[in-house]
């Protein structure tokens, strides 16, 4: 992955951004909003993951978009503008086609947003955010993330050891295999319980269980984070105001109806675009700054 400037911001800034774009992406069916969201999510995913994202978007997201768009009119026959009738007598309506497209775009947009979310919100950021709410939970998360790769590794070792005495889950008759598999899990359980004792000792030895435990993290909330968070709050407020005035919604059935494009609508669109493209903008600004510094050296 390329270095992403937005990922370097405080986790709360990252989290608010993704919570907002994903929620808005699911709520707003207005075509302008959908267009903005889809375009921004694709751009951001390309910026984050480059060729891999392009392949993912073209290979999986595009066909998904087409299929989802086609399925709706085949089953949904509501709407007043009838285009033609199917052989079995069911009508195909303009509204259901448009609704199908809108729903498909929404699905794809949200999936792409989530793929960006996964790249930016790493496990330690997530742990940190939840640690703020429940410190004990954050330690448990951290321990789980420690134990999962460890147990996977140990299971592999056990399976290899058992294979060399002819008792692995890949050897013998189906019944034998099942029995061997259960045996491996049983060895694993014994091993895990036995070794957890030493982990518990190590925790006790380092004072775990004393009152007033604190939670340390490497993140610092600096003025840059404060500024970005403020900007996000303003943009979100504008978008919500637009939503309250009905600028962002569309009615599909029985006939299509949405707010005509008005000056205030333009402001809301701009705010939405600015919010969705915030990480891209930050990246571009950093690149420009870097280039000017580099050229001076």
């Amino acid at each position: 992955m390329k270095r992403d400037a937005f990922s370097g911001y405080h986790p709360i800034v990252n989290f608010v951004y993704f919570a907002a774009v994903i929620a808005f992406g699911m709520l707003f069916m207005h075509p302008v909003f959908q267009g903005i969201a889809l375009a921004s999510s694709v751009i951001y995913s390309l910026m984050l993951k480059g060729m891999r994202a392009l392949k993912f978007n073209l290979l999986y997201m595009l066909p998904l978009l087409l299929i989802a768009a086609l399925i709706n009119p085949a089953f949904n026959h509501a709407g007043v503008t009838i285009l033609f009738y199917l052989k079995n007598g069911n009508p195909i309506t303009l509204e259901s086609i448009l609704y199908g497209i809108a729903a498909a775009v929404m699905l794809v947009t949200v999936i792409i947003w989530f793929s960006c979310y996964n790249a930016v919100m790493t496990s330690d950021k997530f742990i940190y955010l939840f640690g703020r709410i429940l410190p004990a939970l954050s330690l448990i998360f951290s321990m789980v993330l420690r134990f999962v790769p460890r147990y996977k590794n140990q299971i592999r070792k056990i399976s290899h050891a058992q294979r060399s005495v002819g008792r692995d889950a890949t050897q013998g008759s189906p019944l034998q295999r099942a029995r061997n598999g259960i045996r491996i899990v049983s060895i694993m359980t014994t091993w895990a319980l036995e070794n957890a004792i030493e982990t518990a000792d190590s925790m006790k030895a380092r004072g775990y269980g004393l009152p007033n435990r604190t939670s340390f993290s490497l993140y610092r909330f600096d003025s840059r984070d404060r500024l970005t968070l403020g900007l996000q709050a303003v943009l979100i407020a504008v978008i919500l105001a637009g939503a309250a005035l009905g600028e962002n919604t569309i009615r599909f059935f029985p006939s299509i109806r949405m707010e005509p494009i008005a000056p205030f609508g333009g402001i809301v669109y701009a705010a939405y675009g600015a919010l969705c493209l915030l990480p891209v903008g930050i990246q571009i600004m950093e690149d420009i700054k870097w280039r000017s510094i580099a050229s001076r050296i």
Partner: protein, 557 residues
């Protein structure tokens, strides 16, 4: 200043007649580096755990332990947590969190420090231990040695006055172990932290220790400077003397007298003095490795290449290796050079992408496991715990024969045979996990032997074993080898290979660099060889084992 004072401490575990510790009197001064040694099960760990109340086991206790002049139980938990640091044996089990930085901060979080303080202390420790380059990594990516250093650093971050370490290097390879002990000695020297340590590998730790305490069956039998304690063990003819460094044992074997040498350097100087002026017939090292050997080939690897992933670098590169039937073949070499991978290739668990592997003329990855692992190939994994499945050792052994079509009497007879061979009689009713490391190794060996293999593959069989159990295991392997079994052993333990293996090969960068008869092999190396050889190689390069150096001294007038 006295930091610990143990007065007449006697301790026994619940429902046990014998006491684990009996009337121990000790005083440890602040800033001392104290090493405690003794056979497995002599009470070392139990004694160490009494120095840290949070880990002290339950049981019947008499006597008193004073920490800085006050009964240890009277100190508050917070002081004890921060002032007494405790490092355990397994590098993996002690790590609690998933990130290096979080692990460093763990103890400080427990003590309730605020973020700026933790930030400073974590940064200090990372710099002191040279951790800053892997500060943000996942702990799962670290090597065993790095993990143990991390455990030490995360304890040191709490600024302890005493460090108590229970066999901290037993799971590490020699290089990582030496680095770890070097760091400990640096902590002791530069920060003045008191160190109490138990250890099997005395060679590296004795030169930096101020005191050596030897325990036997729960009581102190020697407590003096390492040199004096060693001499006392020699006078007592105690079995623990076998664990002392080679120079000291050679010195004793020759007849003692002058102060015993502790390090190779001192040993060399002493040897020069003893043999000064006497002409020594210098045997030439035979570097030819392709000596006539008429025995049939048991394992053959030819031009083998292997990588774990399509895009990964090659783990095994152009490896060719021949092991003859009835040979005891030792493979030595650093970490990550592909030794264990080679064993997995021989046992057919991994497949090469180029080259040929034959075990008894058959490709192991094609052979049916029922055939390959019954009567042909026995594999002892690095961690014997991966083999145990039942509640007791006896049931575990019986389970091994579950699939065989044998009468109950015949099965029992076979089990009796291996139990006698591996000396497991007294352990049959114990849970396999309750055995000590050496006993587990023997039980696992017995299990594998029930399949009657002709070829045995061993991966680091001496890891974590003390001198006594090592010798026992070595004798067992020697007997098996004499019965005609082919043994291939991967090991970091140069001394063990030198003593028991017939031929040795050195692995480097995915391939065998040199391979020869054991004596010639080690004589040909100048650095990667036994300490006895390093001591005497300038006089006679062929003197590889302690016995040979002793003989060298005796034969000279």
């Amino acid at each position: 200043m006295e930091i610990y004072r143990i007065e007449n401490l006697t301790f026994s575990f619940p429902e046990q007649e014998n006491s684990a510790l009996s009337s121990i009197d000790l005083s440890i001064r602040s800033g001392e580096f104290v090493t405690i040694c003794g056979k497995s099960g002599c009470g070392k760990s139990t004694l160490l755990r009494h120095l840290k109340p949070a880990l002290t086991p339950h049981g019947r206790r008499e006597g008193e332990i004073l920490y800085r002049g006050k009964t240890i139980g009277e100190w508050d938990a917070r002081t004890l947590a921060s002032e007494i640091g405790y490092v355990l044996q397994s590098p993996d089990n002690q790590i609690v969190t998933d990130k290096v930085w979080h692990e460093l901060a763990f103890g400080l979080e427990s003590l309730g420090f605020d973020t700026p303080t933790i930030r400073l202390r974590v940064a200090e420790m990372a710099s002191f231990f040279g951790i800053q380059t892997w500060f943000r990594r996942d702990v799962a990516e670290l090597s065993g040695g790095q993990k143990q250093l991390l455990n030490l650093a995360s304890v040191m971050a709490m600024h302890p006055a005493v460090l108590v370490l229970d066999e901290p290097t037993s799971q590490l390879d020699p290089i990582a172990a030496a680095e770890f002990l070097g760091t400990l000695s640096k902590i002791n020297r530069e920060l003045g932290t008191t160190i109490v340590l138990t250890e099997h590998r005395l060679e590296e730790v004795l030169p930096v220790s101020d005191r050596l305490i030897v325990l036997d069956q729960g009581s102190v039998i020697a407590d003096d400077t390492p040199r004096a304690a060693g001499e006392k063990l020699q006078r007592l003819e105690h079995p623990m003397f076998r664990s002392m460094p080679s120079p000291m044992r050679i010195h004793a074997g020759v007849g003692g007298g002058t102060p015993a040498p502790l390090t190779v350097k001192e040993g060399r100087q002493w040897l020069d003095g003893v043999l000064a002026g006497t002409p020594i017939e210098k045997r030439e090292v035979d570097h030819r490795s392709d000596k006539e050997d008429k025995r049939p080939v048991a394992i053959e690897l030819k031009d083998v290449w292997f990588k774990f992933d399509k895009h990964a670098p090659d783990t095994i590169k152009d490896l060719s290796l021949k092991v003859r039937e009835g040979q005891f073949f030792g493979i030595v070499g650093g970490n990550g050079t592909g030794k264990t991978t080679t064993l997995s290739l021989i046992s057919g668990i991994l497949k090469p992408y180029r080259g040929k592997i034959r075990v008894g003329g058959e490709d192991p990855s094609q052979a049916r496991p029922g055939k390959l692992f019954r009567g042909r190939l026995g594999v002892l994994p690095q961690n014997p715990q991966a083999l145990f499945v039942k509640k007791t050792v006896e049931l575990d052994l019986l389970e091994m024969l579950a699939g065989e079509k044998l009468s109950a009497e015949r099965k029992e007879e076979r089990i009796r045979e291996v139990v006698r061979f591996a000396e497991l009689e007294s352990l049959l009713q114990s849970h396999p996990y309750d055995l000590s490391g050496g006993e587990q190794q023997r039980a696992a060996l017995a299990k594998v032997l029930l399949l009657e293999p002709t070829v045995l593959l061993l991966d680091e069989p001496t890891k974590g074993l003390d001198g006594f159990f090592k010798e026992k295991l070595g004798e067992l392997l020697k007997r098996l080898n004499e019965e005609g079994k082919t043994i291939v052993m991967v090991s970091h333990d140069i001394e063990f290979c030198a003593k028991y293996a017939e031929e040795c090969a050195m692995f480097f960068d995915g391939s065998v660099i040199s391979s020869n008869q054991t004596a010639e092999f080690f004589a040909g190396n100048s650095f990667y060889t036994t300490s006895a050889n390093r001591m005497a190689r300038h006089l006679d390069p062929m003197a590889v084992t302690e016995e040979e150096v002793i003989r060298l001294c005796r034969t000279s007038p």
